[in-house]
């Protein structure tokens, strides 16, 4: 009959079901006859059940996407990806729409501000906390994209550069206005969400602009 040392050596594979049947039979016989090894087997199976019950997912403490997006955007040369399939001038249309959305969002906010429906909340919202967490990543991505764009300004048509600059300036202005407003009213959840989505959209426009074909 198999001894305890040998049984202990084979226990992992026995429990995993990867032992050839002849050896598995010997281990099984040993476990039936040896209470110490049987206890060891029970302990191992209990551990594996606990391991299988561990949560499959964990919640990140902050949104990790802006940092990923920024890094992807900052290394277009190294990754040598195909240019995103944006129709010619499609991004200009997108930026123009964004400009309208932003302008009306800010206008709407200013209007609401003049006649507040309810007093501003003093306490910072979860949306604000989320914004504070992801803001450094957005700013980093933005910086990298501005630098990338700066390098290829010369290869874009003057009209494209002009529209792009107008839109980026408008977005910057909108962001500044919204951030100043948020400083005064930190509990304003809608504003925090709007700022975050503006960052995302701005980065989207910057990425598309940075990957435009020459002379576009």
């Amino acid at each position: 009959m198999m001894d305890c040392t040998r049984a202990a050596d084979l226990l992992d594979e026995y429990v995993d079901g990867t032992l050839p049947e002849s050896e598995a039979r010997d281990v099984r016989d040993h476990l039936l006859a040896c209470p110490a090894c049987a206890r060891s087997e029970a302990g191992l199976r209990a551990l594996l059940r606990r391991a299988a019950q561990l949560p499959a997912e964990m919640e990140p403490s902050r949104d990790l996407w802006p940092g990923i997006q920024g890094r992807i955007a900052a290394e277009p040369a190294r990754t040598a990806r195909p240019v995103p399939s944006v129709a010619p001038y499609g991004w200009i249309a997108a930026a123009a729409i964004l400009l309208v959305v932003l302008t009306s969002a800010v206008t709407l906010w200013v209007v609401r501000r003049q006649a507040p429906a309810k007093p501003p909340q003093a306490v910072a919202s979860p949306e604000l906390a989320a914004l504070r967490m992801s803001e450094p990543d957005y700013l980093q991505a933005r910086k990298a994209l501005y630098a990338a764009l700066q390098q290829r300004r010369g290869s874009l048509s003057p009209q494209t550069v002009k529209i792009l600059d107008q839109n980026l300036a408008a977005m910057d202005q909108a962001l500044r206005a919204m951030k100043a407003a948020l400083d005064k009213d930190p509990g304003n959840r809608g504003l925090a969400v709007l700022i975050e989505s503006t960052y995302r959209q701005e980065i989207q426009v910057l990425m598309q602009a940075a990957s435009l074909p020459a002379n576009a």
Binding site: L44, P55, E59, I68, R71, I72
Partner: protein
């Protein structure tokens, strides 16, 4: 995964392979929880795990063209993550790991009954205290379902080494949890 969900994911992967970053963001949203869990358990360090999770998705984007759909996208992504963590461990023996904090363990507790939580937190803590190689073997094999062959390939070591590391981890964990 349901066949329809799998087909939808396949569609997203194809779009991302064509350069569609929004499709890739949807893939990120669907998989970040599992990738983070793998990185956190392999490193025993939440902050480092979040950095490595970001690194995993950057790498995945770069290597996306090499994904041929032979396995599920999630399995492929897990291999990328394991590779990123093991690479980091290989190059960073000069950076000693941070000590585990109580808050780290709290996060593991989400969405389980009180008793499961206590047991899960104990196991997570015991895992975080294991030596690196043993922890990697246990997390990959017993928590995330990698085979010894896959682990050996990823870690650049013999299959026998992976088995020995797993054996060590299982013994240490049972002692720690007794």
């Amino acid at each position: 995964m349901e066949p329809e969900a799998e087909a939808a994911e396949h569609h997203e992967v194809r779009a991302a392979q064509g350069g569609d970053l929004e499709a890739f963001e949807r893939l990120y949203r669907a998989h970040v929880g599992r990738v983070l869990a793998l990185c956190a358990r392999m490193t025993g360090d939440r902050t480092m795990a979040e950095d490595l999770t970001q690194e995993t998705f950057v790498k995945a984007w770069e290597k996306l063209a090499s994904f041929r759909g032979e396995s599920a996208f999630g399995s492929w992504l897990h291999r990328v993550a394991a590779n990123v963590v093991l690479d980091q461990a290989r190059s960073a023996s000069r950076h000693p790991r941070k000590a585990e904090t109580a808050e780290d363990a709290d996060v593991f507790a989400a969405q389980a009954s009180a008793r499961d939580v206590a047991s899960a937190v104990d196991l997570e803590r015991a895992l975080a205290a294991l030596p690196e190689g043993a922890r990697a073997a246990f997390v990959l094999h017993d928590v995330h379902g990698f085979s010894h062959e896959e682990i050996a390939r990823l870690a650049g070591q013999a299959v026998g080494t992976s088995k020995a590391q797993l054996h060590r981890a299982r013994i240490l964990l049972r002692e720690a949890l007794r």
